[in-house]
Amino acid sequence: MIPPLTVAIGSMITALPIITDYPILPPMGLLVVLAWRLIRPGFWSAWAGFPLGLIDDIFSGQPLGSAAFLWSVVFILLEAVDRKSVRRDYWQDWLIASTAIIFVLIGGMLIVDFRSNVPRLDLLVPQILLSILLYPFIARVIGSIDSWRVAS
């Protein structure tokens, strides 16, 4: 029960009084779910992206179904990656997480309005960089939560 709960809490981070003129806050729900998914590959089924994404949609302001769809796609792709690769190290995890972050953020922006948002995707660069740099920290926090969960 703890892993989905932490993901939901990550999604609820938008409730903090952070008011910005453009997207800058890293998608914490996504970072947490990626950390769990990469730390514990066998724990999550491929369909878990849908309900978790749905919770994220309620709080993110994206049209409902946006994260539900994008996270599902990420989960399916990760499932395929898991079956292909023999072993992975820390850097590969980070690379996979970064790819997923870029995919979901760009996908989310294009879902909102494809035609007028294509020329201004550069708007996402600060948010993408911030999210990628934040991922190792989130992964560490989730790692310690996981070891505490396993121990208790």
Binding site: M12, I13, T14, A15, L16, P17, I18, I19, T20, D21, Y22, P23, I24, L25, P27, P41, G42, S45, A46, W47, G49, F50, P51, G53, L54, D57, I58, F59, S60, G61, Q62, P63, L64, G65, S66, A68, F69, L70, W71, S72, V73, I76, E79, D82, R83, V86, R87, R88, G108, M109, I111, V112, D113, S116, R120, L123, V125, P126, Q127, L129
Partner: protein, 300 residues
Amino acid sequence: MAPPNNRRPGFSKRAQYSIFASYLLGILGAVLGLLLLLISFVDPRGFSALRTAGAEVMAPISKSLSEIGGATGSAGDEIAAYFNAASKNAAMQRELEKNRSEILEARALRQENERLKRLLKLDEEVPDSIAMARLISSTASSSRRIATLGVGSSSGLEPGQPVRSPEGLVGRILETGPTTARVLLVSDGNNVTPVQRARDSLPAFATGRGDGTVDIQPINIGSNPFKTGDLMITSGSGGLYSPGIPVAVVIRKTETGAIGRVLANPAKVSHAIVQPIFQAETMRQIEKNPVADGELETGE
């Protein structure tokens, strides 16, 4: 971290079926997500109850934190400014060069604006505000620009009502819950504001660009009369916003129109004022203020 080795199916038919099933479920989730998206586009208000419930649940946290968290409001801006520093610096240099020649003109413009503002009594008189509240949170991680306001339908708020601050127009109410309301900001890509140039009532539309600026398109397509420094105010056409609320200042021309910076930066707005929908009091405004009359005619 290495995935466990037992995830390779080998020759077991059963293991292969279970893998197939898990993929199938995953794809089903993605398809369901797409379906929900489709519904969201056909009926944008359809899921508002869910989102409103979410905002209501989080409201106590948002509200109490926003009381103390004044400093966090501009944190995102400052971080972004850091990333954009180099390009911004170059752009600002260019702008500075250009502006030197335009300073005199701008001064004249400012005087004119002040005169007009006095005429419209923008600073002092805010007609019939319904409620006054803080913006308690926003969709800071999404490319939509929606903020949450700390009051809701129990204070008389309804969807469509304009939200403004002393600096200018913030947006309009999108959805309401009992104690929270979601505000579609002026800079959201789906928000189109009918505006006019303060100087000569030139009508235009301001469409959000999602980054604190708006795309200003003149209604008379073909001409591009905008100049850097032009003040755009609401025109009152459409009947949603009362005329004369400052919206944006033109910062740069484009081929077909101009880009304007939104005057009321939601990150710095301490208190937002919710006003009634303009249409109901159109007559009163026209009787009281002959300027509004002319504006309305050109705005239509």
